[in-house]
Symmetry: D2
Subunit: 418 residues, 4 copies
Amino acid sequence: MKTSTFEQYESSVRSYCRHFPTIFTDAKGAVMKDEDGKEYIDFFCGAGAVNYGHNNSYIKNKVVDYLMTDGIIHALDMYTVPKREFIETLEQKIIKPRGYDYKIMFTGPTGTNGIEAAIKLARKETKRRNIFAFMGCFHGMTHGALSLTSEMYARNAANATFTDVTHIPAPYMVEGMNVIDYMQMLIDDDHSAVEKPAAVIMETVQAEGGIRVFSDEFLRDVRDFCTRNGILMIIDDVQVGCCRTGSFFSFERAGIKPDIVVMSKSIGGIGMPLAIVLHTAELDHWKPGEHNGTFRGNQLSFIAGKAAIDYLTENNVEAETKRKGELIRDFLETQILPLDSRLELRGLGLIWGIDVGKINPELSEQIIEKSFEKNLICECAGREGAVVKMMPPLVIEDELLIEGLQRLKKSFEEVLGK
Amino acid sequence: MKTSTFEQYESSVRSYCRHFPTIFTDAKGAVMKDEDGKEYIDFFCGAGAVNYGHNNSYIKNKVVDYLMTDGIIHALDMYTVPKREFIETLEQKIIKPRGYDYKIMFTGPTGTNGIEAAIKLARKETKRRNIFAFMGCFHGMTHGALSLTSEMYARNAANATFTDVTHIPAPYMVEGMNVIDYMQMLIDDDHSAVEKPAAVIMETVQAEGGIRVFSDEFLRDVRDFCTRNGILMIIDDVQVGCCRTGSFFSFERAGIKPDIVVMSKSIGGIGMPLAIVLHTAELDHWKPGEHNGTFRGNQLSFIAGKAAIDYLTENNVEAETKRKGELIRDFLETQILPLDSRLELRGLGLIWGIDVGKINPELSEQIIEKSFEKNLICECAGREGAVVKMMPPLVIEDELLIEGLQRLKKSFEEVLGK
Amino acid sequence: MKTSTFEQYESSVRSYCRHFPTIFTDAKGAVMKDEDGKEYIDFFCGAGAVNYGHNNSYIKNKVVDYLMTDGIIHALDMYTVPKREFIETLEQKIIKPRGYDYKIMFTGPTGTNGIEAAIKLARKETKRRNIFAFMGCFHGMTHGALSLTSEMYARNAANATFTDVTHIPAPYMVEGMNVIDYMQMLIDDDHSAVEKPAAVIMETVQAEGGIRVFSDEFLRDVRDFCTRNGILMIIDDVQVGCCRTGSFFSFERAGIKPDIVVMSKSIGGIGMPLAIVLHTAELDHWKPGEHNGTFRGNQLSFIAGKAAIDYLTENNVEAETKRKGELIRDFLETQILPLDSRLELRGLGLIWGIDVGKINPELSEQIIEKSFEKNLICECAGREGAVVKMMPPLVIEDELLIEGLQRLKKSFEEVLGK
Amino acid sequence: MKTSTFEQYESSVRSYCRHFPTIFTDAKGAVMKDEDGKEYIDFFCGAGAVNYGHNNSYIKNKVVDYLMTDGIIHALDMYTVPKREFIETLEQKIIKPRGYDYKIMFTGPTGTNGIEAAIKLARKETKRRNIFAFMGCFHGMTHGALSLTSEMYARNAANATFTDVTHIPAPYMVEGMNVIDYMQMLIDDDHSAVEKPAAVIMETVQAEGGIRVFSDEFLRDVRDFCTRNGILMIIDDVQVGCCRTGSFFSFERAGIKPDIVVMSKSIGGIGMPLAIVLHTAELDHWKPGEHNGTFRGNQLSFIAGKAAIDYLTENNVEAETKRKGELIRDFLETQILPLDSRLELRGLGLIWGIDVGKINPELSEQIIEKSFEKNLICECAGREGAVVKMMPPLVIEDELLIEGLQRLKKSFEEVLGK
């Protein structure tokens, strides 16, 4: 196994590879293989980019078929057949059946690029500059998104000036504080020093913040707060959209309609780079090219994205995700939580985290290393990295899921000394 | 032809499609086809993303082969075989033979994301915040890059506060002004109000700024200026790198070594999303994950990117580009420029622009519309969009190139009334 | 009475004159006279600038004597006898007896200028840019101070970008929130998005914020918070310093030592413009002229300032203030509060406010207008201007104080319809 | 002589005192005395604050008379007799006779405070945020003014983020550059990255920048540029207004009418703190109190300010300034400039500078030290402090002026080794 190439030539900014010091070759479903032929169960799922499994055959075959015909691959934002079909499929199978009326905006094919577009739109429309974001959030690493992202490590690395964002404590952070009332006070009090925002931006589950699930009620309250005050609501569904929580949009559980939704990761089906911004028709005052990006017309992503929507609707991925979610919750509650009363479990659908912070935040890193030794890929997240994060492909077979959980349990046991 | 889907559902931010109101289906080399079976000669080249031709067979076949083996598609920044091979090929065939020692950083797969990483690195390393950028530049649309980008249309759309950038007039802008002396003065004068910058960022040809070619001498002077003052030099080679000007890196003609180079577009071979930042080894103080992005590990891009390097080196693309560059220059100088003495021609390699601004900036739009009617795809750029921009794939056959130029000439004639 | 001059030629930015539409001529102690010979009891006290009474004879005579000798009036920051004597008196009679070791910095002669200097010093010393300020605060109207000031009316008027300040809810604002814990969380949580500040700046009583008195305990807790975290504590004692609360420094009641103290208003004795910044010796790393201002060397202010210190120490102004404070509190509690159970009384020493916000914020304006009709000068303050503010000169005679309070009571009765 | 008090207790930020290590006691006209009874000729004039001479008897007597009557001293912005008389006198004797229609705004009594108000007004009125300021300028030390001030020493000391200002090279800085064309280009070029400004702010003579006199033509060109483009023109007349250049307003020589004028220093007559902003009637959309400050109602400054206007009009100060200006120019040209061909002389009226920068910037400090030894007070200014600045009171007697110049000449001779 030759990792020296990376050590010699790749920038030291590389990160995940440090937890998984092997060289991967191929992957299928929930299994990844390395150069030594070892097979790993994948509980990381490309940070949510391969929800429908590595090399999902249905999706991949559509891509290969297209490539075989010399279908145009790159077309900026010109009209193409794959783009038309992606749009129609997304509208007909996802957006309209759920009662939404979003228009689709194609941005540079990264979640952070979609976020940049979303805040431009909100500021343009409202003629206000401030944005409310929640502490604990992660919205991306380009400077506009990073001004929202609450992670100090990432912010400090930029040595930059961030402006026009007010960070609001998430509901789990300040005991006894009603966050909605707090935001209303910031707007109403003529001595708050805080400008009324263009938008409130949020994830429905703060994944990087430590698998912090916002309650349905809180999501509805934010929606009401925004509506009441003429503020736009932006949902960043980059990581927990695309069925991860059991419904295509993660906010469906709350019965709300955000004004703007940002999606990426699994919207590209099998890890093909794609990002979209959905915005209501009434916000559609963009002038041509006010936001753009060369790779917003990656046709293979449209092909894969359309195929993914077909796949997920035909294979009951939402329902299956909910079912497996119960399975994983049950295992974690009954098999791992009892190992130490200070462990905390949070999650829904197929995104879960166990917080070891009350014991010792550093244990999480030991646990994922132990897991890797047992051929299980999972990562840590959250404050001080104290949360062991589990995010398998939604299509993982039950046996593999259980097997992965067993390995995880052993890792916990070894690290906790049980 | 059904464009109503786009009109109904796609955000009004879409732009290029407005100049080319048809629906493209497939493409090969320098030819694009639409749903009606019409064939277009492509002088736009995906804004530089398909330098080696649409569906370049050599490159595409490598991608298909990989897909067939269930090679891992998405792997974040974990180690993989395609990534290793891309790194080795780029180092061995491009970087080392040219005498550079760059480390390779993989960013989110868009040029703008690479720029964001580059300015983070420069500010981190120097502990300074200011950046010098040149008026006329285009570095991207995310907020960090956009703070550099000089296009007012794009800047205004964001309704955002931009900080920590000083824009310097490009050499062609202020008659009688020595731009290097000006920058030196800004640093030396204790009453300039301008902070010493972390970096000077520039393109070697301002493409969006109107195909403005910086002279070899100016590039060297900027390099000297940076070295002399302990400032980093960043070259944005997103649009004119990858052989576009006749050498892999566009700055080779000046014999300089920038501290940081940002590449994207054709680095992904056939339009596969990819962006890299090359930085000298001595700048490699990144801590893990200080910049990241989900799709920085798109394996198909590595496959295509490696294949592209193999292709370009084996097919003398650099030399061919130079040769065709002379051909196009000759045609434009002898066939089009004589149509009106107020036309201005600028370019090198296979990127050229004819500026109609001294006649009437709006003529350029008429010319590209006429060209489209003649099945030629080209776009406008520059101040007030007054420049007709020609950027065919580097691998375009001579006959197609001449045919395209003939069509362009006819468009000029019709619009200029000759 | 000729106010037409003002209406015709003075900028419409003028404000207090709108509540007191007469032309004042002379003033003595707590009494102001107008051109028609009417006498007014002054419960406004030049917003705290004439604590020792209008035309305090002891102080004024010193000024006149100095003027008679052709003593130098304006000397920038050169050494002069009046400056030396002011410094010695302030150190010997105020600073040292209280156990402090402050150095004295002379800034431009306005409170806001002192605040500007204070935040420069804090940012310089700590090499950090962020400042924590409390919602409800007022620190001045120049852009640095205004970035701290929480009043939206003032902030919006500037149409400016404010950076590098985090506004913290004051303890009375968010029920159930421990503000110290909140600030500690902002610093400790690696996902707060809030940078560790250079300083916490605060008033001990938010005067403009509505006569909000911070408890001794809270002041000590902030001091501890700052000490514990290596953050500087800045007290803005511009309005409530100079004995207003019963001790020279308003923070003496809490037994704390701020790192930086800003004083103005009554530090100039009889309304002579003066502002000083006191900072600990260990912060004294200023380089010459890093902050300056032409009128920081106004000798008449030094003369008056010294005389004021002599006066206040020899006339037990601190003790008298406390005594009269009890008198005023007693009257307000027993005579005015009972008029309506929704009235709220806040204050200490000789600064008091009655908040009518729970009835109707606009009543306060009616009350001060009624008071003016009764020849009593007082102003409103606070959120929505809902607080009737009482701030007589500290030297007001008891009978005048009671007479003023009687007039105020009548105004309340008339407006409340009792 | 006891300077130890200052060394022990005054903040190290003190500056001018370091050049003049003595303790001043009294002053009259152009003569300052110290504790040892030494008399100094004053060529510094309190940085322009005592244009009519120290302790000008006419002015001072008015102040004393007022004090004797218990006239109100401090009145915020309430209406008073002294304020009315100041307004009427300024309007009738200065503003109207010159054909202007300015309204008068009273700000905090420092030049920097007036500047802060001026930029607020410009940004409010135009709804634009950017301001153009010239490199070499000095507009004050509070954060809004400091964002304009070009001196790096002062800017760096703040460790602050400055936004919304574009600094333009002054006409003397970039050879061959037409500054008006440059500004027009910044506005017209759709790729300049520079936002159209709310205002251009400038001094007519950059005093701190090194006695750089802008030509009449340039002032008119800036005025035209502003008018043509709907941009406000702000003149900072803090240092060179009040007759310093030979006319009350320094811009009269160019026959222009700025939209906003900021005055301070000698507007207070004998060094009494005062600052005013003059703005055209059509800009008078201030809402009450949108800018304020406690000491904007310092009655002694109104008394002195009115008396100063009476004095200057009755004593032909403008004409006298012009006459003495010729006298000083003649001396410098014939007596000092010949000492070394590298000396540069700049100035007009009674503000002059000799630039030693082409010999050695540090000589200026030696020259002012030598001058102090000869009982002459003058200071240095300009880039690297290389300019010996001469700014005597306008009322200096001819003999004293010549005597001062003789002393200065000797200092030059000694330092230059002649």
